[in-house]
Point group: C2
């Protein structure tokens, strides 16, 4: 993990986090992260994250399973700039011009660096892609580690097409634009067979589900997964005609993933 | 895991497998699967899979970490029909009309059932979605477990947009159709900012990479990950103009994932 020689660079590890961020109950880390991921995380001295406080809380949980290589408070934890984690740092986003290379100074000096987001895999439905691009540009090896990815757990559970699918992020909050976007995604799914996956901020989940049930075609399949990997996780998948007839008791206050096809 | 009462149904667990299927070296399961996943897999007596022989080989490895609830040879292992695992069982596919409900008879009798594919997550870039649909139709709870998903490891490592992305499966093998499809995917990525992810059978990977380098625009970013989670895994990501200048030593004989954006 440390520098073996001045000339060798460290690696950038993409370290997944559990999906219980902001939830009332915590999932034991051994249920959602391989020991291999926990062992690597425990050895890293340099971190880049969205929020240092929640990263420390996560690493404290890691340390309870695999002792950390050095005390939590002495780890080097840097945050991505606020603009980046609010607006994204993928190509074409507001934060795309952000130069992440300085955050990789430790890797250039031979130390491995961990990138972590608040929940799930960094750079998927979350910022972090600027770090991977910077690493590739600097000739730093990028190693993604295994952990929970809510979008894929939801897709597998949905019974929808997993051989052609798209994740399109958040839908518009404006009612007119939302209706237009839902129609657009449904047509795309019908025409191409491509499952369309999207998310919403938890407090809007109930309203979004109702709009979907009202506006999609009876024969369209809608799948919703709530609280994935939590003890009270639920996945439902039905044609809209069935959603209209059956009541459900989904915990939509939990992080949820929607998919149609 | 067993029937607690006649009226209660078992669950359908979606059990991920390691990504080393068909590779020369094996990844220790604890590096890619959480203990929680291994513990549930070890307790299941009823399985549905693509191939019973490789499922037994996988469960033998599971049993070396978490003792199996009953001897390997006495587990009930059923295979999806050959047509389904060759042609897919997602809506719109040749195998879409396949009725998976009989494969869930054990779950209807109160036993949990595991669905597993040859590598990675069942029903993602693999058959299995008919099992999830059948479970939902029968009121059987579907629980996806955490494990490695090559498409997402590759996407995170790519530095491409992980807030809007699509997986489009295999590209055409016919040279004219391949060129047309690559152009189509590149235009889509340029126009919408949506990362386009695809795969190829390993023996065609080298040829595909060369076609991509030749035909994509200089400013398009191309990412390739080979042998994800294996000890010799590699991820490269660069603009096409850089791919044209730099040599690489990618192990394209290993399972690989391509992404452009």
């Amino acid at each position: 993990m440390t520098s073996s020689s001045i000339s060798s660079k460290g690696k950038l590890y993409l370290v997944p986090a559990p999906l219980d961020f902001g939830c009332d109950t915590q999932t034991p880390l051994t249920e959602v992260l391989p020991l291999g991921t926990l062992q690597i995380a425990a050895k890293l001295q340099h971190w880049v994250c969205e929020n240092a406080k929640s990263t420390r809380a996560y690493l404290k949980r890691v340390g309870e399973i695999c002792p950390l290589v050095q005390p939590l408070q002495s780890l080097n934890i840097q945050e991505l700039p606020r603009e980046v984690h609010k607006k994204g740092d993928h190509p074409g986003s507001v934060g795309a011009s952000f130069d992440a290379k300085p955050l990789l100074a430790a890797a250039m000096s031979g130390f491995d660096v961990g990138l972590v987001s608040e929940a799930g895999m960094p750079a998927i439905a979350d910022p972090g892609s600027s770090m991977a691009r910077a690493a590739h540009d600097l000739g730093i090896t990028v190693v993604p580690l295994v952990g929970p990815i809510s979008l894929m757990l939801a897709l597998a559970a949905s019974g929808l097409n997993g051989q052609n699918f798209a994740f399109v992020g958040y839908l518009p909050s404006d009612a007119v634009l939302l209706t237009k976007r839902i129609r657009e995604l449904e047509l795309l799914a019908q025409k191409t067979g491509q499952t369309q996956i999207f998310i919403e901020t938890p407090y809007r989940n109930t309203a979004l589900l109702q709009v979907l049930i009202n506006q999609l075609q009876p024969n369209t399949r809608l799948a919703v997964s709530c609280g994935l990997t939590l003890s009270d996780t639920q996945s439902l998948s039905n044609k809209i005609s069935v959603w209209r007839q059956q009541s459900h008791n989904l915990s939509l206050r939990l992080p949820s993933v929607f998919a149609i096809g």
